[in-house]
């Protein structure tokens, strides 16, 4: 067997130029596969974290039926925002923080301008632990602050519609839980360009929870509880543990349920990536097929000689398969190394990108996982062998006498 490997190695190095070209094809394919996968991993992680740590939290609790009626941001499907209820949730293992919220629609007024917008009432302290990225998005001024009970943060599109700057006063108008119109005065203490990734509505404001409870005339109540989970892969466990804790009149959902579009986006990205990767791999393997076909044709006399001195057909087959696998192995290893090098280079500082239609940059830290590297490596070696199957079979089926007489 070792002898066979040695011969295979020698054969591969015999036609250096051709082997080099084949190797580069495999190398390039693998570099692209790994690089794009790494980039996409980073992008998907950024999206996931942006949603979990910037919008939804890991897990949410609502009154039953709230998520279905979410569009109308119903206020009557409410829950207690007191320590008795929130404390029970916080006591569940792996729950690190709990924040009560109220999403609601209403109007912002300044002078003669009144603009419809979407608000989320947030607990200024707890929210910073559940969704810290929300606070990092505030570019001008400062995020919600318990020391400023009437201070709110608003998106820049909303503020520019109103002609308002950070530091100015605005009034928030909305219908309270009973439908009666109510209003409060507020101060704009901060602004952020966008409410979050994939936010359909750009006119959004964040309001301190106690002020919103007064505005909506629902003291001590909220409609949503956002929960931080650490480590994040324990979400299913936390969801299962929470259900008996909160009782049957509440629904417990993971961020996958609340922001199902994220999983959908990731799935579609992976679909496209796999298609592209497979095309690259297929081209590289065609290169190997071609190389081996040439090789068999050129070495017909040699194969005849080998057979004449007693080398078995099985061994001939194995020899050619080995040669192809060697190309796959070396090209694959180099390609993986190069791809990994590129990813490693960008992993630290990250790649700054801007999504279409967005005004905020996102930073992507590409990475790849060990199972992906291992799988890709195996695919490149086995793929090369499979591509060489037909030429190798031809070689092993040659008749020694005719092969010896070949002039090719």
């Amino acid at each position: 067997m070792f002898a066979l490997i040695r011969i295979a190695l020698r054969n591969v190095t015999r036609n250096r130029r051709r082997s080099l070209i084949t190797l580069s094809a495999v190398f390039l394919a693998l570099t692209v596969m790994v690089g794009v996968r790494g980039l996409l991993n980073g992008l998907q992680a950024t999206i996931r974290e942006g949603v979990v740590y910037g919008q939804t939290g890991a897990v949410q609790v609502h009154r039953k039926g709230f998520l279905k009626a979410m569009q109308g941001a119903p206020l009557d499907l409410d829950l207690p925002a007191d320590e008795a209820f929130l404390g029970k949730i916080r006591a569940v293992p792996h729950v690190t923080a709990v924040a009560a919220r109220i999403p609601f629609g209403g109007m912002v007024n300044h002078g003669d301008q009144t603009v419809f917008s979407l608000f989320t009432a947030l607990d200024p302290v707890a929210e910073s632990k559940v969704c810290p990225q929300r606070y990092e998005r505030v570019k001008v001024g400062r995020p919600l602050d318990p020391a400023d009970p009437t201070g709110g943060d608003f998106t820049t599109p909303l503020l520019s519609r109103l002609g308002v700057k950070v530091g100015d006063g605005v009034a928030i108008l909305t219908n309270d839980r009973d439908g009666v119109l109510n209003a409060v005065d507020m101060k704009v203490i901060g602004s952020f360009p966008e409410p979050g990734l994939f936010a359909a509505d750009k006119k959004v404001g964040f309001i301190p929870l106690p002020l919103a409870q007064e505005l909506l005339r629902m003291p001590g109540r909220a409609t949503e509880v956002a929960i931080a989970v650490d480590p994040l892969d324990r979400i299913d466990e936390v969801v299962a543990a929470l259900r008996p804790v909160v009782g049957p009149e509440y629904e417990v959902s993971s961020w996958h349920d609340v922001a199902g579009y994220v999983d959908e986006i990731v799935k579609n990205q992976n679909l496209v990536l796999n298609l592209i990767s497979n095309i690259f791999l297929f081209m590289a393997l065609l290169g190997i097929l071609n190389t081996m076909l040439m090789s068999v044709r050129e070495r017909t006399r040699e194969i005849g000689t080998m057979m004449a001195v007693g080398v078995r057909r099985r061994q001939i087959l194995a020899l050619f398969l080995l040669e192809a696998s060697l190309l796959g192995l070396v090209g694959g290893a180099l390609g993986l190394a190069a791809g990994y090098g590129i990813i490693h280079h960008y992993a630290g500082e990250g790649i700054v990108m801007r999504a279409v239609g967005s005004t905020t940059d996102i930073v992507i830290h590409p990475f790849i996982t060990a199972p992906f590297v291992a799988r890709t490596f195996v695919v490149s070696i086995v793929g090369a062998a499979v591509a060489a199957l037909l030429p190798s079979f031809f070689a092993s089926r040659l008749r020694p006498v005719e092969a010896l007489g070949s002039v090719a």
């Binding site: 009034a171 108008l173 119109l181």
Partner: protein, 250 residues
């Protein structure tokens, strides 16, 4: 001979046509035009000046109701002002409409805030322009449609501007006294968003009008609101200074 016959024929045709016209003419005179019907609708629902007491009950999805009581006063030039008495949380709130501009006075802000005509009126199914309804003739272009019922007229209204309460309205009127019977309200897309029934025609000091309006929300099941006119005084004194923004809250 030929000439005579021709003349006779011509005369009889002219006579026949005249007879036909003579028959048709009185009927045509009795049929009101679209503009006349709409004018009558304005006179019925929003006479020149008035001072009225209205109760609105909003029926919500969860089968609960919310009751509002308010006073509406209409001054000259289609200005209209509204004071809330009930519920306690709305007490002190006031509204004013001057032309297409609307304000709500919020006691918690101690000032008036501009509101949009198409926003919901106190979370119910009427919008602000419905509650502060003044002049459909000014807001809509009417066309007579086929009501499908010999006893009623149908008016198709299209809004002249975005400030009108709705983009398109279909209004049915009873023939004879031209009392409004029902209405359908449409978004620009053509989707029906509200429908209304006018019932309980009452005499308010000489003005006959529906005292009960039922507005059904066609976008949400089980949501509707009703307004009942408890009293309506006509030709009251309406001091002009009551109809300016600065007077709100006083």
């Amino acid at each position: 001979m030929n000439n005579l016959m021709e003349n006779a024929m011509r005369r009889s045709i002219i006579l026949g046509v005249a007879a036909l016209l003579g028959q048709a003419a009185p009927v045509a005179a009795a049929e009101p035009t679209a503009a006349e019907i709409l004018k009558k609708y304005d006179d019925t629902m929003s006479p020149k000046t008035f001072d009225a007491l209205v109760v609105m009950i909003a029926h919500r999805q969860d089968d609960t109701t919310r009751t509002y009581k308010f006073r509406v006063m209409k001054g000259h030039d289609d200005k209209i002002r509204l004071w809330f008495f009930e519920p306690a949380s709305a007490k002190g709130q006031e509204m004013l409409r001057v032309g297409e501009n609307m304000w709500v006075y919020m006691p918690s802000l101690k000032r008036a805030v501009r509101i949009a005509s198409r926003d919901s009126f106190q979370g119910g199914d009427f919008n602000n322009a419905d509650a502060l309804r003044v002049n459909y003739v000014a807001d809509y272009t009417p066309v007579l449609g086929d009501s499908g019922d010999p006893k009623s007229y149908l008016l198709d209204l299209s809004a002249k501007s975005k400030d009108a309460a709705y983009d398109k309205v279909k209004l049915w009127f009873r023939k004879g006294d031209l009392m409004p019977e029902k209405a359908e309200y449409y978004a620009a897309s053509g989707k029906m968003i509200r429908s209304m029934k006018f019932t309980d025609v009452k005499d308010f000091r000489g003005l006959r009008r529906p005292a009960h309006l039922e507005m059904k929300n066609e976008l949400a099941q089980k949501r509707w609101s009703e307004m009942t006119w408890l009293d309506m005084k006509l030709n009251v004194e309406v001091p002009a200074q009551r109809f300016v923004v600065d007077d709100l809250g006083r």
